[in-house]
C-alpha cells in the first residue's frame, strides 16, 4: 500500500469509511423496521391487534375499579381503557411503579397473549406530577384525570 500516492490513500480511506457507515445505516434502517416497538391505544389494539408475542406498547388509563391482585400475590390484573368502549385486559407480574393508580395514565410494555390478555413486562406510570410520559400527555383523555395535585405541603 505504501506505493500508493497520498491522494489515492485518502480516496481509499474515505470510500472505506463511507462504505462502513452506509452499511451501518442500512443495517440500522432494516433493524429498526423489524425491531421497533409500536405504540397502541386501547381502541387500536381492539381494532387491529398486533401479532401474538410481538413486543409492543399499550398506553391508556387504568380503568376504575379494575385493579385486582391475583392470589399468587405478585401478579396484578387490570384494564386499560381509552375511557370510551375499548377495554384491554392487562396482566403484570412485578412491583407496581410508584403512582400506579386507577384513573391514571399508564404505558405497558409487553405483548398480546393468545387469550387476548396483554402481558406486560414493564409498566411506566407518571414519574411525578410534573413529569408524565409524553404519550400519556398527548392522550386527550388524560386531561380529565391528573394524579396528585401540585401542592405545597407544610411540614410539621
Amino acid at each position: 500500500m505504501s506505493s500508493i500516492k497520498p491522494k489515492h490513500q485518502r480516496l481509499v480511506l474515505v470510500s472505506l469509511a463511507l462504505v462502513a457507515i452506509i452499511a451501518a445505516g442500512l443495517l440500522a434502517a432494516w433493524a429498526l423496521r423489524t425491531q421497533a416497538d409500536y405504540f397502541y391505544l386501547p381502541n387500536e389494539m381492539m381494532d387491529e391487534p398486533p401479532e401474538v408475542g410481538r413486543a409492543v406498547r399499550l398506553g391508556g388509563m387504568v380503568a376504575e375499579g379494575s385493579i385486582e391482585r391475583l392470589p399468587d400475590g405478585v401478579t396484578v390484573a387490570f384494564v386499560v381503557t381509552d375511557q370510551a368502549d375499548a377495554r384491554v385486559p392487562v396482566r403484570y407480574a412485578g412491583i407496581l411503579p410508584d403512582l400506579f393508580v386507577e384513573n391514571s395514565g399508564v404505558v405497558a410494555e409487553g405483548s398480546l397473549g393468545a387469550d387476548g390478555v396483554f402481558v406486560a413486562d414493564n409498566l411506566l406510570a407518571k414519574h411525578d406530577e410534573n413529569y408524565v410520559p409524553r404519550e400519556l400527555k398527548e392522550m386527550a383523555e388524560h386531561q380529565g384525570a391528573s394524579g396528585p395535585q401540585q401542592t405545597v405541603v407544610g411540614y410539621e
Binding site: M1, S2, I4, P6, K7, Q9, R10, L13, L16, A17, A20, I21, A23, A24, G25, L27, A28, A29, A31, L32, Q35, A36, D37, Y38, F39, A55, R57, R69, D72, G73, V74, A93, G94, I95, L96, D98, L99, N122, L124, H127, D128, E129, N130, Y131, P133, R134, E135, P148, Q150, T151, V152, V153, G154, Y155
Partner: protein, 663 residues
C-alpha cells in the same frame, strides 16, 4: 440581591462573549487590530462572570430564597443542604446555567493556559468559543432566566423530585456537563484550525489533553449516571437505551474516536481532515444531546426538566452551529493538505478501523434515537429498545474490540502481521477457551452476545497489558500506562455487562414476615416491615436477612418511600455487595392478606461495569498527565537546542568576524 447580581453577571458575560467573537474575527484580518489583544482577557473575564453567576444561583438555593421563581418551584426549606445545592441544577434553567458556566470556564482555561498555538489560531479558536457561547447565553437570558423573581414570595417551595434527592445526582450532572461541554473546546480548536489552515501535529498535541479531559469527565458522568439509574430507579437495569442515555453515549463515542485520531495526527501527521471532522461531530453530538434532553421531544425515564417550547430555540442554535461548522469543513477540507501515508497493517490502520467502527456505532445509536421522531412525522408512534441496539451495535462493537486487542502492538506506518503472531495466538486461544468453558459450565442457556462478551472480555483483559511486554515498567511513559489501564477498563466493564446479562437470577415473591425464599445461593428471610420517617419522607422499610451457605447473616433494608413535597412515592433498593456480585432487593406494596412483594436479583460481577468505567477514566487522567509532562520536557529540550544552536551560530559568526566584535 444576589439573584440580581447573578443575572447582571450573566448579561455582562454575554457581552464579553460578543467582544471575544468580534476581537477574534478582526484579528484574522489584522493581527494588530485594537480588539485583538482583548480576546484572551475577555474569555477569562467571561469565565469568571459565569462562575460568579452560578455561585449566586447556588447561594439563592442554599438560603432558599423563595422570592426567586426557580427556588420556589424546585426547592423546599426542609431539604438537606446537599440537595438544596444539587437542586440548583436539577431543573431546566439551572442546568442550562451550569452548561453555559462550564462552557465559559473551558474558554477561560484555554485563554489562560494554552500558549502553544500560533496566536492567530488561538484568537480564531476563542472567537468560535465565544460565538457558540453567545447562542446559549441568548437562550438562557431570553427564554430561561434562572434568576426570575416572583411578584410576591411564596411561603414554601414545591420541592425537588425525590428521585433526584440522591447523592449520585449531586455529582452526576456536573461531571457529565464538564465532559459534554468540555468538548466545545475541541469544536473551537477544530474551527480555529480550519479558519487559519493550521491543521498539523502541533495542533493535535494541543487539542489532545483538552479532549482527554472532557472525555474523562464524560466517562465518569456516564458511569455515575448508570449506577444511579441502577440503584435509584429500582428496576435492576443499568442501561436502558433511553434517549437521554444515548445522548450522553453519542458524544462519548465521537470523543473516543477523536482522541484516537488526534493521536495519529500528533504522532504521524496523518488523518488531518478526519480529526477536524470528529472535533466538529463530537460537540455537535453534545448539542444534539442537550436538545433531545432539554426539549423533551423524546420520552425518557431520565428527563426531569423539560420544556417543549424551548426546543425550537435550541434546534435553531443547533442548525446554526452544526450547519455552520460543517459548511466551513466542506469549504476548507479540500485545502487541508495531505497527511503522511501508512500501510493497512499498521498502528494507524488499526486506529482508522476502530475510528470507522466507532462512527458506525455512533450512527446506529443516532438513528435508533431519532427513529421515533421520524416515524412520528407519519403519525406512527414507536419506541426503540435493546432488541435493536444490542445486536446491531454488537455487529460493529465486536470487530472493534478484536482490533483493539491487537492494534496497540502494531508499529506505526507499516508492520508485518507475522511479527505479532504470538500475542494474537494467545488472545485467540483465551477467547476460544473462555467461550468453551462458559458453554460447558453453565447450566442455563447463555445468549450469544453475553457469551461473546465474556470471551472477548477475558481475551482483551490480557491483551490490554501486552503493550507493556518487553518494556522497563518503571521507565514506561505514563501515557502508555494510561492507554493500558483504559483498555483494561473496557475489558473489565465488558465482563461485568456480559456476566450481568448472562447469569442474573431474578425472583419475584410475595411473602409475609417470617417467611423465607432463595436466590443465587442466598437464603432470604423477610424479618419485618416497619414504618420509619426521614427528614422529608416517611417509608415502609423491610428488614430482610440474607445468608449464603454458612456465612454471616447480612441485613438489607429496602424501602418504599413516600415524600411530602412534592407528593411522590419512590422505591429505595437495598444492595448487598460481594466480591462476585450484588444482591439487589426491592420491596413493593402489601397485598390485602398481609404478604409483601419482594423483587430480588442476584447479579454476578455487576459491579465490574462501574469499576471498569472508573479504570477507563483513570487511564484517561494518566494519559493527560503523561502527555503534559512529555510535552513540557520536549519543549524544554527544544528550547535548549535552540539556545545551543543560537550560541553555536553566534560563535561561528564571531569566529568569522575579527576579534573584539560583540555578539
Amino acid at each position: 440581591m444576589s439573584a440580581e447580581l447573578g443575572h447582571a453577571a450573566l448579561w455582562m458575560a454575554a457581552a464579553l462573549a460578543i467582544l471575544q467573537l468580534l476581537g477574534g474575527a478582526l484579528a484574522q484580518r489584522d493581527a494588530q487590530a485594537p480588539l485583538a489583544a482583548l480576546v484572551r482577557p475577555a474569555a477569562m473575564l467571561q469565565g469568571f462572570l459565569a462562575v460568579f453567576s452560578f455561585a449566586m444561583l447556588l447561594w439563592v438555593f442554599a438560603i432558599t430564597d423563595l422570592s426567586v421563581k426557580l427556588v420556589a418551584t424546585n426547592s423546599h426549606s426542609m431539604k438537606p443542604m446537599i440537595f438544596k445545592l444539587s437542586g440548583a441544577w436539577g431543573n431546566h434553567e439551572g442546568s442550562m446555567l451550569l452548561w453555559v458556566t462550564v462552557m465559559a470556564l473551558a474558554g477561560a482555561l484555554i485563554a489562560w493556559l494554552e500558549k502553544r498555538l500560533p496566536e492567530k489560531t488561538m484568537q480564531a479558536t476563542l472567537a468560535s468559543q465565544g460565538f457558540v457561547a453567545i447562542g446559549f447565553y441568548a437562550f438562557l437570558l431570553l427564554s430561561s432566566n434562572p434568576f426570575e423573581r416572583l411578584a410576591s414570595p411564596v411561603a414554601e417551595g414545591n420541592g425537588l423530585n425525590p428521585l433526584l434527592q440522591d447523592i449520585g445526582l449531586a455529582f452526576h450532572p456536573p461531571t457529565l456537563y464538564m465532559g459534554y461541554v468540555g468538548l466545545s473546546v475541541a469544536f473551537s480548536f477544530a474551527v480555529g484550525a480550519m479558519l487559519t489552515r493550521q491543521v498539523n501535529p502541533e495542533f493535535a498535541r494541543v487539542m489532545r489533553p483538552w479532549v482527554l479531559g472532557a472525555w474523562v469527565f464524560l466517562t465518569l458522568g456516564i458511569t455515575a449516571g448508570s449506577y444511579w439509574a441502577y440503584y435509584e430507579l429500582g428496576w435492576g437495569g443499568w442501561w436502558f437505551w433511553d434517549p437521554v442515555e444515548n445522548a450522553s453515549l453519542m458524544p462519548w463515542l465521537a470523543a473516543t474516536a477523536l482522541l484516537h485520531s488526534a493521536s495519529v495526527l500528533a504522532a504521524r501527521d496523518a488523518l488531518r481532515a478526519w480529526t477536524i471532522m470528529l472535533g466538529v461531530v463530537a460537540f455537535s453530538m453534545s448539542m444534539l444531546g442537550t436538545f433531545l434532553v432539554r426539549s423533551g421531544i423524546l420520552t425518557s425515564v431520565h428527563a426531569f426538566a423539560v420544556d417543549p417550547e424551548r426546543g425550537s430555540f435550541i434546534l435553531a442554535l443547533l442548525a446554526i452551529y452544526i450547519g455552520g461548522a460543517l459548511l466551513l469543513f466542506a469549504l476548507r477540507a479540500g485545502s487541508v493538505s495531505e497527511g503522511q501515508r501508512f500501510a493497512a497493517v499498521s498502528r494507524e490502520g488499526a486506529l482508522v478501523f476502530n475510528n470507522v467502527m466507532l462512527c458506525s456505532i455512533l450512527g446506529i445509536v443516532l438513528l435508533g434515537t431519532l427513529y421515533p421522531l421520524l416515524t412520528e412525522a407519519f403519525d406512527v408512534r414507536v419506541s426503540v429498545g435493546p432488541p435493536y441496539f444490542n445486536p446491531v451495535g454488537a455487529i460493529f462493537t465486536i470487530p472493534m474490540l478484536l482490533v483493539m486487542a491487537v492494534g496497540p502492538l502494531l508499529r506505526w506506518r507499516e508492520d508485518n502481521i507475522e511479527r505479532v503472531r504470538a500475542p494474537i495466538a494467545i488472545v485467540v486461544a483465551l477467547i476460544v477457551t473462555t467461550a468453551l468453558l462458559v458453554v460447558l459450565a453453565s447450566t442455563t442457556d447463555v445468549g450469544v452476545l453475553p457469551l461473546l462478551g465474556l470471551a472477548i472480555a477475558v481475551g482483551l483483559s490480557v491483551a490490554s497489558f501486552l503493550p507493556l511486554r518487553g518494556r522497563n515498567l518503571l521507565r514506561t511513559p505514563l501515557s502508555i500506562w494510561g492507554m493500558v489501564l483504559a483498555h483494561f477498563g473496557i475489558a473489565v466493564s465488558l465482563f461485568g455487562m456480559a456476566s450481568e446479562s448472562a447469569f442474573t437470577e431474578e425472583k419475584l415473591v410475595a411473602i409475609s414476615p417470617g417467611e423465607t425464599s432463595q436466590i443465587g445461593g442466598f437464603a432470604i428471610s423477610l424479618e419485618s416491615v416497619d414504618p420509619i420517617a426521614g427528614p422529608n419522607w416517611t417509608a415502609m422499610e423491610a428488614r430482610i436477612t440474607a445468608r449464603r451457605g454458612e456465612g454471616a447473616v447480612e441485613v438489607l433494608r429496602p424501602q418504599s418511600r413516600h415524600f411530602f413535597a412534592p407528593v411522590q412515592q419512590t422505591t429505595e433498593s437495598a444492595l448487598l455487595t460481594r466480591w462476585d456480585g450484588q444482591l439487589y432487593a426491592v420491596v413493593g406494596a402489601p397485598s390485602p392478606d398481609g404478604r409483601w412483594q419482594l423483587r430480588l436479583w442476584w447479579k454476578p460481577f455487576v459491579t465490574l461495569i462501574w469499576y471498569g468505567g472508573l479504570l477507563i477514566s483513570l487511564g484517561g487522567a494518566l494519559a493527560i498527565v503523561g502527555r503534559l509532562v512529555s510535552d513540557i520536557r520536549r519543549r524544554r529540550t527544544q528550547a535548549r537546542d535552540d539556545d545551543e544552536r543560537e550560541e553555536l551560530e553566534s560563535l561561528r559568526q564571531s569566529g568569522a568576524i575579527p576579534a573584539g566584535s560583540t555578539t
